[in-house]
């Protein structure tokens, strides 16, 4: 018995090492797939070790759970790349659900004799787990557009939200002091569940990258708390790694939007946007046809393409790849400028462009590409808006003032593919569109890029 316990611990130790290696290998695209294999090996080892655990008397329900989970998991692993943000949000919800359920079961197994330390981490586990569960479901719903994407705000929203959270934490404290008051436990789950919903209601689509990262961090921390409760070092490590990852991404995303966490969660951005949109006036813009656009692109020697959420919505990435090929064939140097918050989750654009077979060394981050714009002949913006808005640099009254942007306005010619002049998702007017050097290309991103490609290849052969 003692020996088998040791073997289990060693299995977990190896799994822990494999998890850390897995993330280490993810640092470069060259070794990244090895990272996935290491993660899978660690996972298999840990699960196999656990199944041999002497305390397990009944394998039927475990088998049912593993089979049903696999049946649900396979389609979730096969979703289209454009659906990756909502899939990720959904997986945060599942992770949080698992943690919350285990926490609940552990409480009722141990109550009313729960030591104070145990009750403290258990409270943390279920509060974080429950709010992450409903919050992530809401985020997934907004991303899948089954829920309205516009932020919904009302007076006193922040007070209501913070009040809910405070009550949940208060109940946690009471339970730590008096673990025999088991009737309070359902409230400690129910209130954070409500808080998760309320927390996401005022969040708009443009804030999704930050929110997804934050939920990722919460999911990790709740799993680490579960590790404390179960006394599992492996789970503490995995949760800490996930929490750290989510935290780093949240900080990156907030910086890229020049906003603090609290501002993202409690900022009620929507109201400011309405005010900004109100001052909008009709100004003349220059527009161009696909033929003219193709002519200018063909004459350029250096082109930077700036993709945004609009490219994902129009599923235009494969047409963009054809454009990349057509221009490269003519000897044009084509690169991509990727803003950290372009799209709906960190790295969203990179995945879509990689899916379209565009080499990753052509995908440049904001800081690496910004110096190139003054030497760029054409900056072609496909479905991006706020991340190119010069008002962030110049106009102190703009709601996005201070946000780091791609300096596309420094290129010799700027082309913007956009469906119409209607204010975009964020509702902030973009002075870029009224510059003399800017050409507006009105139309659907996929169709328009397709027309440019046809012009380019028609002229070529």
């Amino acid at each position: 018995m003692f020996a088998s316990e040791n073997i289990l611990e060693i299995t977990y130790l190896i799994a822990t090492a494999l998890f850390v290696l897995s993330l280490k290998w993810l640092s470069s695209p060259v070794t990244a797939r090895r990272g996935v294999w290491a993660g899978e090996a660690g996972m298999l080892l840990a699960i196999a070790g656990t199944l041999l655990h002497k305390g397990i008397v009944d394998y039927r329900w475990i088998a049912v759970g593993l089979v049903v989970g696999t049946i649900i998991g396979v389609p979730l692993g096969r979703v289209a790349m454009t659906a990756v943000p909502q899939r990720t949000a959904l997986s945060h919800a599942f992770g949080a659900l698992c943690v919350t359920l285990v926490g609940t079961a552990e409480f009722y197994l141990r109550a009313p004799n729960v030591p104070q330390f145990m009750m403290g981490v258990l409270s943390l586990e279920v509060i974080l787990g429950a709010l992450t569960f409903t919050g992530s479901l809401m985020a997934a719903g907004k991303l899948q557009e089954v829920l309205p994407q516009r932020p919904i705000t009302y007076k006193g929203q922040n007070i209501v939200n913070l009040g809910l959270l405070a009550i949940a934490i208060g109940i946690g404290v009471i339970l730590v002091l008096h673990p025999d008051k088991t009737f309070l436990f359902p409230f400690m789950i129910g209130i954070p569940l409500a808080f998760g919903v309320m927390m996401i209601i005022p969040i708009g689509g443009a804030d999704m990258p930050t929110v997804i990262s934050l939920l990722n961090s919460y999911a990790g921390l709740s799993a680490a708390a579960m590790g404390f409760v179960l006394g599992s070092k492996l789970l503490i490590v995995a949760g800490a790694l996930d929490g750290a990852s989510g935290f780093i991404l949240s900080v990156n995303m907030s910086k890229a939007m020049n906003r603090s966490f609290t501002n993202v969660l409690f900022g009620a951005f929507g109201q400011e946007q309405v005010a900004a949109a109100g001052t909008k006036e009709a100004r003349p813009v220059r527009s161009a046809s696909p033929e003219e656009a193709a002519g200018i692109l063909a004459a350029a020697s250096k082109v930077v393409i700036v993709p945004g959420y609009g490219m994902a919505v129009a599923q235009a990435q494969h047409k963009v790849r054809e454009l990349y090929d057509a221009l490269t064939k003519r000897g044009v140097d084509v690169k991509f400028g990727i803003h950290p918050v372009a799209g709906r989750m960190p790295g969203h654009m990179n995945v879509l462009l990689a899916e379209a077979d565009i080499p990753y060394d052509k995908l440049l981050e904001m800081d690496d590409i910004n110096g190139d714009f003054p030497q760029t002949d054409v900056a072609l913006i496909i479905g991006a808006n706020d991340v190119t808005n010069p008002a962030a640099r110049e106009d102190q009254s703009s709601p996005i003032y201070g946000m780091p942007i791609l300096d596309v306005d420094k290129a010799r010619t700027v082309m913007v593919i956009k469906r119409s002049m209607a204010a975009g998702f964020a509702g902030i007017d973009n002075p870029l569109y009224y510059l003399d050097r800017t050409l507006m290309l009105f139309g659907d991103a996929k169709t328009f890029v397709g027309s440019i490609v046809r012009e380019l290849s028609g002229g070529h052969g």
Binding site: I62, G65, G77, A105, I212, N216, S245
Partner: protein, 98 residues
């Protein structure tokens, strides 16, 4: 097996530091796969759920444990699959281009 508070905190603290150092080095290019991979690794919580469902001390533990296994397993399977699918797509520009 129970860990005491201090040991648990040591493990958490060290793992968080390693996490920060390792993950800071991940290229922003791969931030989406990073999120799906850490999510799959996080689903190691399935271990706790397996013990709950397998020990079957109460019916509640059995039911909640089984649902928790379903949720975590779907993350493991789906998470590793989609991470690998994404990473397979990232290719450097090689001799393929003229």
């Amino acid at each position: 097996m129970q860990l005491d508070l201090v040991t648990s905190l040591y493990v958490f603290l060290l793992a968080a530091f390693i996490g920060f150092e390792v993950i800071r080095r991940v290229s922003p290019l791969l931030h989406t796969p990073l999120m799906s991979l850490t999510n799959a690794l996080d689903a190691i919580a399935v271990v706790g759920a397996i013990i709950l469902a397998g020990e079957g001390k109460t019916n509640l533990a059995k039911i909640l444990g089984t649902i928790a296994i379903v949720a975590a397993t779907s993350n493991i399977v789906g998470g590793f699959m989609i991470t690998d699918r994404m990473l397979k797509m990232f290719k450097a520009s090689g001799p393929r281009k003229p």
